[in-house]
């Protein structure tokens, strides 16, 4: 038979505290490993080449730049403006006045009008004049257009089309803004003038990009010759199987 527990003796606070403290001091810890060395091995790669202070500055800036670049690339309007500003393939009309003196003689397939724009929203001249607040010009050399198309971008856009018997159709795009259409060309463009307004002549395949909305973009690959200029807040785009001289003459005849 086991001995019954002995009632514990009374101990005062100090004795009890000292007892617990003394017993705790007998706790033996395992040897402390080389933590400093291991940690240094882990942080040294972080320091290699860049100090943390530098990284703390560079890293947020790099992230911010990356985010900004992504935003610019994702928003068509911003992307186009950025390309334009950086002069990366973007072509815009600028206020310079060099006059081109020659037109490259190129063989090319004229782009059918249907591949320029697939829109089938054909309207009459009277309808067009009702829908836009800029004048629909006459082109005396070509007469009445054979067809007219309308499309509501952020700014209204009207396309006049003249069929020809020997050539591909000639089209004149009227965009109610000076800066809504951008062209990207892999080849050199020629700077010229139309009635004193700076203009560009594109005689090689290029990308025609229109932004109907700020969050969308329409792109067409144009394998044709195009004269584009801006006057009085309207962008004009004349396309057809034309030489530069013929295109300028036609453009300057527009009333």
């Amino acid at each position: 038979m086991s001995k019954p527990p002995t009632p514990p003796p009374e101990v005062n606070d100090d004795t009890w505290t000292r007892y617990v403290h003394d017993m705790s001091q007998r706790f033996e810890f395992p040897p402390t490993p080389d933590i400093a060395g291991a940690v240094r091995d882990r942080i040294e790669p972080e320091n290699r080449g860049f100090r943390p202070l530098v990284m703390r500055v560079v890293q947020p800036v790099a992230i911010l730049l990356l985010v900004m670049i992504l935003i610019v690339l994702l928003v068509p309007d911003l992307r186009a403006r950025a390309f334009d500003w950086l002069h990366i393939g973007a072509i815009r009309i600028v206020n310079e006045s060099p006059v081109a003196t020659h037109t490259p003689e190129l063989e090319f397939d004229v782009t059918p009008i249907g591949s320029i724009l697939d829109w089938e929203y054909e309207i009459t001249l009277a309808d067009a004049r009702d829908r836009v607040d800029f004048p629909i010009p006459d082109v005396p050399e070509l007469g009445e257009p054979d067809a007219m198309f309308f499309y509501q971008l952020e700014e209204p856009m009207v396309i006049l089309v003249w069929e020809t018997t020997t050539q591909a159709p000639i089209s004149l795009h009227l965009i109610g803004s000076a800066n809504r259409a951008f062209k990207y060309s892999a080849e050199d463009e020629i700077r010229t003038e139309v009635n004193g307004h700076p203009a560009l002549w594109l005689s090689s395949p290029h990308l025609y990009e229109i932004m109907p909305q700020t969050d969308s973009v329409i792109q067409r690959f144009v394998n044709g010759r195009v004269l584009i200029w801006e006057a009085d807040g309207i962008t004009y785009r004349l396309e057809g199987d034309l030489t530069l001289a013929a295109a300028r003459q036609l453009a300057e005849s527009i009333e």
């Binding site: 002995t6 705790s24 007998r26 706790f27 033996e28 810890f29 933590i35 400093a36 240094r40 943390p52």
Partner: protein
Amino acid sequence: MTGELITRAAQGDADAYEQIMHLHQEAVFRLAYVLLGDAQDAQDVAQDTFIRAYHQLHRFDTTRPLRPWLLQITRNLARNRQRATGRYLAALQRAFMLKPRAALIAASAETEHVQRGDVQMLWEAIQQLPTPDQEVIYLRYLLDLSTQETADILEIKPGTVKSRLSRALDRLRGIVQDDFPLLMEGRTL
């Protein structure tokens, strides 16, 4: 001196930071060990502590003592580790239950046997305390930290440390008297 080391370390001086680690690695490791009850886990947490501290060093107020700040990080990391595995209390128990046996410094086999048993019973008593009471005993007595350091680590006022410790000891004595009367038979008291 330490402030200068901290400043240099915050600027990326690895040598300075290594000096700081050598000054504090034992305390950090021991706290991690007490809380986790496993040397490998403690080493991992100690390393993580110094890594985290290194990345936050530029925000540290060099007028304050470094050790409580490091130990606070250690405690948080250890607690997170144990919470994640649901083994926090189990580890606290293991730390005190298993390791003190090896820790006993005995003048003789008989003394060692007696003291090992005392530590074992004392731990069994401590483990019945609420976790905050256990922690304050571990920090104040096992790690022998000051009241102020303990307060900084536990993020409570020094007065609260004293009252919590007093209350913990009272509770511990009651537990020992009720459940571990042999410990009170005067073997080491």
